[in-house]
C-alpha cells in the first residue's frame, strides 16, 4: 500500500482545497451579483492572497516532505498524467492570485486586504494590459475548476475502482493498515 502524505501536507491539501473551491464560487458569484458584489470582492482579495501564501508554504513543505511514490503497479502513463496534473494545479495556485494582483495593479485600483492594510501594485498602471489580464483571470479560473474536477474524479477513481491506497494516502488510514 502507498505510504501516506505527511500530516502537514494533508492539512495543507485539504485546507487549500476548501479555500480554492470557495474562491471559485465567490469569484463566479460576485461577477453576477449587484447586491453581494462589494462584500464578496472584499473577501475575494485577501482570501486569494492567503492562497498565494499557502501555495508557497506548500511548495516548500513538498521539498521537506516529498509525496509518497505512486503504486508501482500503476501504469507509467497514468503516473505521468497524475504528476503532470499536480504541477498544473500548483501552477494555477500561483497563477490565479498573481494575475488577480497584477490586474488590479494594471487597473490602477487600490488592492485592499483589510482596513488600511493594502498591497503595493506589482505592475505600472496600464489599462490595455488590464484588458488582457482581466479575461485571463476568468479563463484561468475556469481551467482551474476543470482541472480540479478531473483531479477529484481521478481521486475517486483511486478510491472506488483502483482501491490502491492512493486516496487514503491523502486522507486518513485505519491505524492497522499503515
Amino acid at each position: 500500500m502507498t505510504p501516506s502524505f505527511s500530516p502537514l501536507s494533508r492539512l495543507l491539501h485539504w485546507l487549500m482545497a476548501v479555500l480554492i473551491l470557495a474562491m471559485l464560487v465567490i469569484g463566479i458569484a460576485m461577477v453576477s451579483s449587484l447586491g453581494h458584489y462589494r462584500g464578496l470582492v472584499a473577501i475575494h482579495r485577501p482570501l486569494g492572497i492567503l492562497i498565494l501564501i499557502l501555495a508557497a508554504i506548500r511548495l516548500i513543505n513538498r521539498q521537506f516532505n516529498p509525496p509518497p511514490a505512486l503504486p508501482r503497479a500503476m501504469p507509467k502513463l497514468l503516473q505521468a498524467a497524475a504528476q503532470a496534473s499536480h504541477w498544473v494545479l500548483y501552477g494555477l495556485m500561483f497563477a490565479l492570485p498573481l494575475v488577480g494582483w497584477a490586474m488590479l495593479s494594471a487597473a490602477g485600483n487600490p488592492i485592499v486586504l483589510a482596513g488600511a492594510w493594502h498591497l503595493p501594485p506589482i505592475l505600472a498602471q496600464n489599462v490595455a494590459l488590464y484588458a488582457v489580464l482581466r479575461p485571463a483571470h476568468t479563463v484561468l479560473a475556469f481551467c482551474f475548476f476543470a482541472v480540479i474536477l478531473t483531479h477529484l474524479a481521478a481521486a475517486l477513481l483511486h478510491a472506488l475502482i483502483f482501491r490502491d491506497g492512493v486516496f487514503a494516502s491523502m486522507t486518513v488510514r485505519r491505524s492497522h493498515s499503515s
Binding site: 464560487v25 463566479i28 449587484l34 503497479a73 496600464n126 472506488l160 491506497g165
Partner: protein, 372 residues
C-alpha cells in the same frame, strides 16, 4: 466497520487493478455513477452560483447592456458620465473631521488629488445643456498609499433607490427603434411603479442648476459610515460645496457644444477653483440605505477642509480616463453603508471599466487648450 474507501487487502492481480474495463462491471458502474454524480453536482453548483441557471436576472452585465442599448455604442468611453475632462489639485484637511474618522485624509495636512468633471449620461459627444447633471469624481492618494475615490453629482438626491430602479428607468428612457424617441407611456409606467422616484425627481427639479462646473455643489448622495479611533461608527453624507458664488444656469444653451467645459477652463485660467468638503452627520433613524431621501436640513455639518482644483486637461492614457472612480474604494476610517446603490455601482463600474479598457480610443469631445 470497514471504511468504504479502504477495502480489505485482497489484492487483485496488479495488472487488473488499473484495467478500466472494470467500469463495465456492476461495481464499476456503481462507482462511475457516484463519481459522475459528484462532478455533475459540482458543475451545477458552480453554474448556479454564477447565475448561469437564471439568465433573466438583473446583474451587472445586463445593467451595462441597458446603458449600451439606451445610448448606443461608444467604444472606449464610460457607459455613463461619458463626456468629461480630467482635473488636478489638492485637498487641505483642517483636522475637523478627525474626531469622527480615523482616515489619514482627515488629519491636518495636504494630499494630492486628481479627478474628473463630467456630464451625466452615456453620450461622449453630447452637447452641454444648462440643466445637464454634472459630476465631480475624485481620487485622494493618502501618505500610506491608501486610496479614497468618490463620485458626486450636482443634484440633491438620487432619482432611484436601487439598481433595479436604475435599470427600469434606463429601459423606459431607451429610444423606441420605430419612433427614435423614448415611449412616454413607458416612463409613466416606471413612475407609477416607483413612487420614491417621483418624490426624488420633484426634489431634483426644485433645486436650481448652477451656471457651470465651478459654482456647482457636488453631493456624494450615498450614505457612508465614518469610523474613529475608538471604533465609533457615525452615519455621514458628504458634499463639495463651491467657494465660487452660485449663479443660476442660463435659460437657453449657447452655441458652443462644450460651453460648460470651456467656461470651466476659462474660470481656472483666472486662478484655482475651490470647494469645502462638508460632512453631514446623520442621526440614528436617518436613512442610510436610500439615496432618494434627503436627511433633515438641521443636521450638524462639519467643514473638513478645502479642495483646490488647479487645472484641467483632456482625457488621455494614464490619467482620469483610465481610472475607475468606484465609490467603494475607501480608506480605513470610511466604510460603505447599507445603501444598495454602493455595491451596485461598484459592480457596474467594474464592467464599464473593463469594457472600455479593452476598446480602441478616440479623442474626447472637449480638448482644453494647452496651458489651461
Amino acid at each position: 466497520m470497514p471504511s468504504p474507501f479502504e477495502p480489505p487487502p485482497i489484492d487483485p492481480p496488479p495488472s487488473g487493478r488499473y484495467d478500466l474495463r472494470v467500469l463495465l462491471t456492476r461495481r464499476g458502474m456503481a462507482a462511475g455513477a457516484v463519481i459522475g454524480g459528484v462532478v455533475v453536482a459540482m458543475v451545477a453548483g458552480f453554474a448556479w452560483a454564477g447565475g448561469f441557471l437564471t439568465p433573466g436576472r438583473l446583474d451587472q452585465t445586463r445593467l451595462i447592456a441597458g446603458f449600451e442599448a439606451a445610448n448606443g455604442a461608444h467604444p472606449g468611453f464610460r457607459r455613463n458620465h461619458a463626456k468629461g475632462v480630467c482635473l488636478s489639485g489638492w485637498f487641505d484637511s483642517n483636522g475637523a473631521a478627525a474626531a469622527l474618522s480615523k482616515a489619514q485624509v482627515f488629519r491636518p495636512g495636504r494630499v494630492a488629488v486628481f479627478g474628473r468633471f463630467a456630464l451625466a449620461g452615456g453620450m461622449p459627444r453630447t452637447a452641454d445643456k444648462p440643466a445637464t447633471v454634472r459630476s465631480m469624481a475624485l481620487n485622494f492618494t493618502l501618505p500610506d498609499g491608501e486610496i479614497w475615490r468618490s463620485g458626486m453629482n450636482d443634484i440633491p438626491v438620487f432619482p432611484v433607490r436601487d439598481a433595479r430602479g436604475f435599470y427600469e428607468q434606463l429601459v423606459a428612457a431607451t429610444p423606441d427603434p420605430k419612433t427614435g424617441k423614448p415611449d412616454p407611456a413607458a416612463l409613466q409606467a416606471f413612475l407609477k411603479r416607483h413612487p420614491e422616484s417621483v418624490k426624488a425627481t420633484a426634489l431634483i427639479k426644485a433645486a436650481p442648476f448652477s451656471s457651470g462646473f465651478a459654482d456647482a455643489r457636488y453631493n456624494g448622495l450615498d450614505a457612508f459610515f465614518f469610523v474613529n479611533k475608538a471604533g465609533v461608527k457615525t452615519p455621514v453624507r458628504w458634499a463639495m460645496v463651491p467657494v465660487d458664488a452660485f449663479a443660476p444656469a442660463a435659460k437657453t444653451a449657447p452655441e458652443d457644444k462644450n460651453f460648460l467645459f470651456a467656461a470651466l477652463t476659462k474660470r481656472l485660467a483666472a486662478g484655482p477653483a475651490q470647494w469645502h468638503l462638508i460632512i453631514t452627520v446623520g442621526k440614528p433613524g436617518d436613512p442610510t440605505n436610500d439615496a432618494t431621501l434627503p436627511w433633515p436640513a438641521d443636521r450638524q455639518t462639519i467643514d473638513a477642509g478645502v479642495l483646490t482644483v488647479a487645472a484641467v486637461e483632456a482625457e488621455a492614457a494614464g490619467n482620469c480616463r483610465d481610472t475607475n472612480f468606484d465609490p467603494t474604494m475607501l480608506p480605513a476610517g470610511i466604510q460603505p453603508s447599507d445603501d444598495p446603490l454602493l455595491s451596485a455601482r461598484s459592480a457596474a463600474y467594474s464592467v464599464s471599466f473593463t469594457r472600455r479598457a479593452g476598446e480602441p480610443k478616440t479623442p474626447s469631445a472637449y480638448q482644453p487648450p494647452h496651458g489651461a
